[in-house]
């Protein structure tokens, strides 16, 4: 009860503080940023100049005069709910099946509660901080509380669909990113601490990074970093935050001494499958149109995912003697992660190679790397999303092709543009540093307020009964 009241007070205070930060940042940082139309460089918000448009009526050539395209809108409405489906029930089940039975409800609860929490935060301030004009680091507050949003509004970032759809589509990205982090601290974090942490993280880490990469005048987007659907914003960001969480919270009771096997991989298979299906909303939806770019994004996503599933499976089969179910689904997710930044830029061969590499790299990330460094990333949030995101971001700089991206500036090493790989590394580096530092600070503050970890007895007996008063029979 007491921690409850503390929690509510803190959440309110945090929101107020967050809301004032952008304004401050705006004053402080605005002069530093002479940026040139980053939205022409990063594809997610608006890839309006897609080359495949055979019917000119379908392309929003002049974003100045927004015109609703019902086909694009139909696809983006669909994409939005697909990305929501990735988190609930997709990710909830993917993670829920991997924990022990006594923690399954607490695990699915995290994804569900984050979905509710971030929806409200995004409405209050997150969307405005990410996607309105501001400075290179964060947007303004002109759309706080979605002020002024109505059926006739369009965003300059998405000319052929209503702004309400663009806002909700981006909301689903803001939801899944913190939900991915929960894999790193599964089985041991307090629910109240998690809610506080996620409130702060969403506003202080996600919205700024999202703005910097995709927002108008954003810093990282301005560098020319290629991130089609969120390799940096979503996966590296979540993976690194997960790593910091795993380090700060410490290992699970029993880690290393007793086996902590998944209790029901059927749930994880359902989860992985829904992640795969929903990811078409994520990647092909990031074309913000129902066109050839969306089609290619879908095709290469499918190929990379399958290739990564097979490459993890065969690696494990060769090294351990058996192809595991958890292996192939982890590989598939690794492939989905790695193809995310590349989806609208690479051709099928590029997708195939990215998939194969991602499957092997994430296998190493979730086994050798984790054991070598000795942290307990329970469900491999960093091992899969961090490692996969980094691999994907770099390989995007390698395999981007003009024939697919439709822009001479969006090409990779393979077409002679070796500078792109360096640009990608800048983007990765900036994200890692900012995310790691701020995540660490938030965790420390939350630890002071309510404490991060549950009691060892609670951890042993299970979070379901202790935190939520419920069990699965």
């Amino acid at each position: 009860m007491k921690s409850m009241r503390t929690l509510l007070t803190i959440m309110w205070a945090a929101t107020v503080i967050m809301l004032s930060i952008p304004t401050f940042a705006q004053d402080a940082a605005a002069p530093a940023a002479p940026v040139a139309a980053p939205e022409a460089t990063t594809a997610a918000p608006a890839d309006a100049a897609a080359p495949a448009e055979a019917a000119p009526a379908d392309a929003a050539a002049a974003p100045a005069a927004p015109a609703l395209n019902s086909g694009d809108t139909a696809w983006m409405l669909t994409s939005t709910l697909l990305v929501l489906m990735m988190t609930i029930p997709g990710l909830a089940l993917f993670y829920g099946g991997m924990v022990r039975k006594k923690n399954v409800l607490a695990t699915v609860m995290q994804s569900f509660a984050i979905t509710c929490l971030v929806t409200v935060l995004w409405m209050i301030a997150g969307y405005s901080m990410a996607f309105t004009e501001g400075n290179p680091y964060v947007g303004g507050l002109s759309r706080a509380f979605l002020n002024g949003m109505g059926p006739g509004e369009f965003s300059p970032l998405a000319g052929t669909i209503p702004e309400s759809v663009f806002m909700t589509f981006q909301m689903t990205f803001a939801i899944i990113t913190p939900a991915l982090i929960t894999g790193a601290f599964a089985d041991r974090m307090k629910f109240s601490a998690m809610m506080l942490f996620m409130t702060a993280w969403s506003l202080l880490v996600y919205s700024p990074i999202c703005h910097a990469v995709w927002g108008p005048g954003g810093l990282i987007g301005g560098w020319g970093v290629l991130d089609f659907a969120g390799g940096t914003v979503v996966h590296i960001n979540a993976g690194v935050a997960g790593l910091v969480c795993a380090l700060v919270l410490g290992k699970r009771v029993g880690y290393g001494t007793e086996p902590l096997p998944p209790h029901n991989l059927v749930y994880s298979v359902i989860g992985a499958a829904l992640l795969w299906v929903g990811w078409f909303g994520f990647n092909a939806g990031s074309a913000v149109a129902a066109n050839g770019t969306a089609g290619m994004a879908m095709a290469v996503t499918q190929i990379a995912t399958a290739a990564a599933g097979l490459s993890w499976m065969f690696t494990e089969w060769m090294l351990k003697g058996k192809p595991s179910v958890l292996g192939i689904i982890s590989g598939a997710v690794a492939g989905l992660v790695a193809i995310t930044p590349a989806a609208g830029f690479v051709d099928p061969m590029g997708g195939l190679i990215i998939g194969i590499v991602a499957g092997i790299a994430c296998y190493i990330g979730a086994t050798a790397l984790k054991h070598a460094l000795g942290y307990d990333d329970s469900l491999d949030a960093f091992g899969v999303h961090g490692v996969g995101g980094i691999v994907g971001a770099i390989l995007t700089g390698v395999f981007a092709r003009e024939a697919i991206s439709g822009a001479a500036t969006k090409t990779g090493l393979i077409e002679g543009n070796s500078a792109q790989v360096v640009t990608q590394l800048y983007g990765i580096g900036a994200t890692i540093v900012y995310c790691a530092v701020v995540t660490f600070i938030i965790l420390k503050v939350v630890d002071l307020i309510v404490g991060l970890r549950v009691d060892p007895d609670v951890e042993r007996e299970g979070l379901d009964i202790n935190l939520h008063g419920e069990v699965v029979n």
Binding site: P259, L260, P261, E316, L326, G327, Y363, D380
Partner: protein, 112 residues
């Protein structure tokens, strides 16, 4: 009366049940258990990590019989459950001092 507790391989349950039926045993109770014995557990995989699960799924059968039926029952179980490999299981015999049939209230041997 005696209680016979037999711990056997799960897939032998049907054979054992049939064998006991054949010698006239009228009732038995089955429990799902996990066993630890000479048989080494399986190796399971978890994201590339292998670990040994030393508790192997077994089935426990409890049968209460008249003293006269003890030896035939043991023999029936042994034959039906044997595969000759490690992990075939054990049979434990102990005394039962009284039996009650709940439906009728009968007691003793006639209630078995």
């Amino acid at each position: 009366m005696k209680k016979i507790e037999a711990i056997i391989r799960p897939f032998k349950l049907d054979d054992v049940k049939k064998a006991l039926n054949d010698i006239g045993v009228q009732g038995l109770t089955v429990l799902e258990v996990k066993g630890f014995g000479r048989q080494k557990g399986h190796t399971e995989l978890y994201r590339g990590a292998e670990y040994v699960v030393d508790l192997v799924p077994k089935v426990k059968i409890d049968v209460v019989v008249d003293d006269a039926q003890v030896e035939p029952a043991i023999e029936a179980i042994r034959k039906a459950a044997q595969s000759g490999k490690i992990g075939d299981g054990k049979i434990f015999v102990s005394d039962i001092s009284d039996v009650v049939r709940i439906r009728t209230g009968e007691r003793g041997a006639s209630a078995v």
